[in-house]
């Protein structure tokens, strides 16, 4: 049937007409490779030690990428949590996420008054080790300078909430 209709000629494909896709699975691989009908490339992730990149180099790359995970502590809680800042698009989402994670309300940010009116104030430790109030700087700047988050009791955060 196929050859009569010559479906191949009218098939939508990427590439120049007349070229054949190179879909040969690994010839001599001793790994569990996908069956030879499959057009997917060999599962590189399964090959031990390939590509030949040394682990300290791999670790360095990994560090650069997973640098968005930060620890979150809450005053009074027995253990810390970790969140991935990359997941959030802005402060609103972040605060909502924190509220859900720790079952509390943080309330709304205002430049002048911080998080006045709520029981908790979110603070963070920046690259210099200083404790800062969440929300003062643009989101992107916050993401790159935030090393760890701390949810403080509002009573302790009084000093942080005051604008200069």
């Amino acid at each position: 049937m196929d050859s009569d209709l010559n479906l191949k000629a009218t098939e939508l494909r990427l590439g120049l007409p007349g070229t054949i896709d190179a879909i040969s699975p690994p010839k001599n691989s001793k790994r569990s490779s996908p069956d030879s009908d499959s057009a997917t490339p060999p599962p590189k992730a399964q090959i031990v030690g390939w590509p030949p990149v040394r682990s300290y180099r791999k670790n360095n790359l990994a560090e650069a990428e997973s640098g968005s995970f930060v620890k979150v502590s809450m005053d009074g809680a027995p253990y810390l949590r970790k969140i991935d800042l990359k997941v959030y698009n802005g402060y609103v989402e972040l605060l909502e996420g924190l509220e859900k994670m720790f079952k509390l309300t943080i309330g709304e940010y205002s430049e002048r008054e911080g998080y006045k009116g709520s029981e908790y104030a979110p603070a963070y430790e920046d690259k210099d080790g200083d404790l800062m109030l969440v929300g003062d700087v643009p989101w992107e700047m916050f993401k790159s300078s935030c090393k760890r988050l701390r949810i403080m009791k509002a009573s302790d955060a009084r000093g942080l909430g005051c604008a200069v």
Partner: protein, 582 residues
């Protein structure tokens, strides 16, 4: 000979011989020369710690001052050697600490070094000066503390890419205030912070410090102060090269750099903020070695820096440089001898940067002195390799890694045999070659015919049959190290070329088709080869002899073939050819 020179004269003459080859040759002239030479040899290099025993070394060379040794095979770098295989430094150090109280230098590569080992060195060798640990593991910062505390005349402490268990950053404070002899300190592999004030004071009291390689945890704000205390530095490795953009930080850094008139090599550059790169411009014209292989910055920023470094001889960089950046490199750095391009996203399915074979072609065209290359890319063609070979017949080291290990010529879909064939044919001085891509037995025929100076060959996912291996073993006259993974090479070629293996340091084969029976035969045939079957599936004799082994590591040795430290997944043959394991 009745009228030979007095011993002292011969000794003096021999003292001008520094190369091991020359000294070995001299030892073969006659018995008395052998004897004189062995008493005055001060430096020794042991390429495989299992090729000889500590006792044999000590017996022959009673007055050594410097020892350099290598342990695990190269493929251990890529996790192909199971944990616990061996290469323990302790037995060597224990024997040498006793025999050589005046030992000054120890250099170890890919060995397991424990804190006890380090403590032993520090306490036994009163004149200890130099410790270089390349890709070693097994020690903690406590071991470093012993070295710092006890080695009063320490000149070099170099922890190249070793894995250190970091218990505390305070080890650095164990350097006594009286220690002013440091010439080289490399702690770039350490992850955690060391005390900055201790570091600064150490640097300040080391007037001979030539090499300082910091770790990532040293922030950019601290760099200026450190450099200021050591304007005589020749090699500097920065820490994280990022900080908030502040003009005072910048000018501080720029001033500090401008005082360094001797700086030749730069490395480090984690987390680069490009705006701070111009702070280094004042030193760029003197820079001959630049390691930007951790700098995740776009090509334009890389290029701005590199084009300042007209005297560059060695460049390590990530593929962020892209073809366009390599074009600029080719145009600006005519003294370039070595280029390494590392992958920024080795496990990604799709290319994340525009780096192709073209970049390498440009550099081979533009840089007449280029002789050493390590290049990771995602596509290659025979045409490109042929062009590269034509451009650069002076290659000594050529290592190409295509991310897809069996990628064909992307233009013609043919194997890359012709391309690599051109490399070995044109580059007559080639000493080291690593190949990837779709390769048939034909490429090995070319290698066997042409690569007469080749000393080290790395092969992965290549070849069709034993013929491939046979070509290499029978043709490559200078071969010393051969490492093979995932190739259909097996018994026939191995057994037919058994004698060849004794002329080499070692052969590694993993995930190939070498049967246990062949390993036994080889070991029986060649009593001076140690044939290690490394197999984590249990005893090889619990399976048919025709079964392929997971890995086999063959090396020549004059020591006993039964090393006492074999783990339970390593088997060798006993004197009576029975299977033996620890």
């Amino acid at each position: 000979m009745a009228y030979s020179f007095p011993e002292e004269v011969l000794e003096h003459v021999f003292s001008f011989l520094s190369s091991d080859r020359d000294r070995n040759a001299v030892s073969l002239v006659c018995k008395s020369w052998y004897d004189i030479e062995r008493w005055c040899r001060r430096r020794i290099f042991v390429g495989n710690c299992y090729a000889v025993s500590p006792e044999m070394v000590i017996r022959r060379f009673p007055e050594l001052r410097a020892v350099e040794m290598k342990g695990k095979p190269h493929f251990a770098d890529f996790n192909l050697v199971p944990e616990g295989w061996g290469a323990y430094a302790y037995p060597w150090i224990a024997a040498m600490a006793e025999a050589y109280p005046f030992l000054e230098e120890i250099k170890l590569k890919r060995m397991v070094v424990t804190d006890d080992t380090l403590e032993l060195i520090s306490k036994s060798c009163k004149n200890f000066k130099l410790l270089v640990l390349t890709s070693c593991e097994g020690f903690t910062t406590d071991g470093l503390a012993s070295i710092a505390a006890n080695c009063r005349h320490l000149r070099e402490l170099d922890l190249r890419e070793s894995e250190v268990e970091e218990l505390s950053g305070h080890w650095l404070s164990h350097f006594p205030d009286s220690c002013t002899s440091l010439v080289s300190l490399n702690i770039s592999c350490l992850g955690s912070e060391v005390s900055f004030s201790i570091l600064e004071r150490l640097v300040a009291r080391s007037p001979n410090l030539r090499t300082l390689r910091l770790n990532r945890a040293v922030p950019l704000e601290r760099l200026a102060n450190l450099i200021r205390r050591a304007p005589q530095l020749v090699e500097l490795g920065t820490g994280a090269y990022s900080a908030e953009i502040r003009s005072d930080t910048f000018s501080n850094l720029a001033d500090a750099f401008s005082a360094c008139k001797q700086l030749k090599a730069l490395s480090g550059f984690w987390d680069v903020v490009p705006s701070y790169l111009p702070a280094m411009y004042s030193v760029c014209s003197g820079i001959t070695s630049l390691n930007l292989s951790y700098a995740a910055i776009p090509s334009t920023d890389l290029v701005k820096l590199i084009s300042q470094c007209q005297n560059l001889q060695r460049l390590w960089v990530m593929d962020y440089i892209e073809d366009s950046g390599l074009d600029v490199l080719a145009a600006s750095c005519k003294d370039l001898q070595e280029l390494r391009v590392f992958p920024s996203d080795p496990f990604g399915a799709e290319p994340n940067v525009s780096l192709t074979e073209q970049g390498l072609v440009s550099v081979s065209e533009g840089c007449p002195k280029l002789e050493s290359v390590l290049y990771f890319c995602r596509q290659m063609s025979n045409a490109a390799l042929i062009a590269i070979a034509k451009n650069r017949p002076n290659f000594i080291r050529f290592r190409l890694c295509i991310i897809d290990p069996q990628a064909p010529d992307y233009l013609t879909l043919e194997p890359l045999d012709a391309g690599f064939g051109a490399i070995v044919e044109k580059c007559k001085e080639l000493r080291r070659l690593s190949m990837t891509g779709l390769l048939t037995d034909r490429v090995f025929k070319y290698i066997g015919s042409h690569a007469k100076k080749l000393e080290m060959l790395s092969i992965a996912f290549a070849g069709d049959s034993d013929l491939g291996l046979h070509h290499v073993l029978s043709g490559c006259d200078s071969l010393r190290k051969l490492e093979i993974r995932d190739c259909p090479f097996g018994d026939k070629a191995l057994l037919a070329n058994a004698a060849k293996l004794e002329t080499m340091r070692s052969l590694w084969m993993s995930s190939c088709s070498v049967s246990f029976g062949a390993c036994k035969l080889l070991a029986q045939k060649m009593p001076r080869l140690n044939v290690e079957v490394i197999d984590e599936r249990g005893p090889p004799d619990s399976r048919p002899e025709s079964c392929s082994v997971e890995r086999v590591y063959v090396y020549r040795t004059v020591a006993s073939r039964q090393r006492l430290d074999m783990p339970d997944f390593v088997w060798t043959l006993d004197e009576d050819s029975s299977l033996r394991y620890s």
